[in-house]
């Protein structure tokens, strides 16, 4: 059974099946865009939370930690209800609001899922820096932005782990993308929803083959990100 799946996986990859290529492309597109946006929002927030003191900070952090462990399906449900024809955003009919059962809706859900992880781990990485470091950088003549950038570079290992954690949370996610994407062949079907579908169809070796491809993509992506931080880890 397992061997058969392996062979099937290899066959699928070698055949360069267009349907499979499409599923992979949708997965990469959705995860990639989500991760870029979640990082663009989450890294600055994490740095901000790690450095600034303000009223209500504890509440924000508690919310963030809750978000880190929040079930993706609930996020999916939330986005579904927002974008539904009868939902607050869906009713607007604005071109800025992604349509339900589109990759836009999936990206929206995945941003909400991965953003707290990126922000939370970034915050932890920044908190791990010496509390006097920022003052020392200022004392060496750094502007606020230069100091911030240096701190980010100093915390790079932790920040990359934050991005990897965000990536991990959405590449393997299935509940939310199924709910708001609809698993439509050729448009919103991702590797994970395809795996669920093949399993439900009883096509276990096909499902396993897709699982192996997912594993491979995840491995390549993580290895690439590790390469980025490799220098920092080696030292």
């Amino acid at each position: 059974m397992f061997g058969k799946s392996l062979i099937e996986a290899l066959r699928l990859i070698l055949q360069a099946d267009t349907a499979l290529a499409n599923v992979i492309a949708v997965s990469l597109q959705v995860v990639g865009i989500s991760l870029v946006i979640a990082s663009a929002l989450g890294i600055p927030l994490g740095i901000f939370l790690g450095l600034k003191r303000f009223v209500g900070k504890r509440l924000v952090i508690a919310l963030l930690y809750t978000g880190m462990g929040f079930p993706p399906v609930v996020v999916g449900l939330f986005v579904y209800m927002l974008l539904s024809r009868s939902g607050p955003l869906g009713q607007l009919g604005s071109p800025l609001v992604p349509a339900l059962y589109s990759t836009g809706a999936m990206i929206m859900a995945q941003i909400i899922i991965s953003f707290p992880l990126v922000a939370g781990f970034t915050m932890a990485a920044v908190l791990g820096l010496d509390s006097h470091l920022r003052l020392q950088l200022h004392a060496l003549g750094a502007t606020s932005w230069q100091a911030l950038w240096t701190m980010l570079v100093e915390a790079r290992v932790g920040v990359l782990i934050a991005v990897i954690a965000g990536f991990g949370s959405i590449i393997s996610e299935v509940g939310a993308v199924m709910m708001v994407g609809g698993n439509i062949e050729g448009s919103t079907r991702t590797l994970t929803t395809a795996i669920v579908l093949e399993t439900r169809k009883g096509e276990f070796s096909m499902a396993m083959a897709l699982g192996l491809i997912l594993l491979l993509i995840s491995f390549i992506a993580n290895a690439a990100m590790l390469r980025l931080q490799g220098k920092a880890l080696d030292q």
Binding site: H132, L135, Q136, A139, L140, G141, T150, V153, Q235
Partner: protein, 243 residues
């Protein structure tokens, strides 16, 4: 030696309910080496950070080169801040190699003075460590790099917080020589915080005693050690201060 660099009047710094610094009057002249001595917890480091324009005073007045920078005054400009460099007690080195650490302040200013870097490395005995990662240095090496990182900027003012704490005699004299030479060759103003009265005596033109945030007195070093006005200074110099 008569240009006034700093003038602090009724300068205080409070953290929540605790007053850490409460200095009635302090003047620092350009080109001098001033030592701030006192027991730990006296507020020396906090005062140094105020002088470094890194923190805002809670009340009182602080004039830097005639410009008010305390409450109600101007926010210290970048140009103003870049006239001084402060070295923290702990060597807060960046996770890079020694050379990159020393070049850091220069890069912030868009400079790349290779010769100056080489010279400072040489002066502090770091040439062999130029390529080593800062993470793998010993305590003494790290402290020297931290000082080199500040010295290479050649700012007119250098503020040093316990630059030789926990170092062996060889490293202590290496660093003290470096401080003396930048004061003599470039006429740089140096404010050095130390708990070691002998170091103050070796280096400083004037010495000030800080106790519980209050400045007891500021005297020429010779007078500070031999004929202090205040009995507490005499006791501190003798080493029988209870703290």
């Amino acid at each position: 030696m008569s240009e006034l660099l700093y003038r602090a009047t009724n300068l205080t710094k409070r953290y929540e309910e605790r007053t850490v610094v409460d200095v009635a009057s302090l003047e620092i002249e350009r080109g001098e080496i001033l030592a701030l001595v006192g027991p730990s917890g006296a507020g020396k480091s906090t005062l140094l950070r105020l002088l470094a324009l890194l923190e805002a005073p809670t009340s009182g007045s602080l004039q830097f080169q005639g410009v008010e920078v305390a409450m109600g005054g101007a926010r210290p400009s970048l140009a103003m801040r870049r006239q001084l460099t402060m070295v923290f007690q702990r060597p807060l080195l960046l996770n890079r190699n020694v050379t990159a650490n020393i070049e850091y302040g220069l890069r912030l200013r868009g400079l790349k003075a290779k010769e100056r870097v080489a010279q400072v490395l040489e002066q502090l005995g770091l040439t062999d460590l130029a390529r080593a990662n800062a993470r793998n240095l010993s305590g003494g090496e790290a402290q020297r790099v931290s000082l080199a990182r500040a010295m290479v900027l050649e700012t007119p003012i250098l503020l040093l917080d316990e630059p030789t704490a926990n170092l062996d005699p060889y490293n202590v004299s290496l660093i003290e020589n470096a401080i003396r030479s930048i004061n003599q060759q470039r006429a740089a103003t140096v404010v050095i915080v130390t708990h070691n009265v002998f170091q103050a005596r070796r280096l400083a033109h004037r010495t000030a005693l800080l106790l519980d945030g209050h400045l007891v007195e500021t005297l020429p070093t010779e007078a500070f050690f031999n004929a202090p006005d205040d009995a507490r200074t005499a006791a501190f110099v003798r080493g029988d201060m209870v703290y």
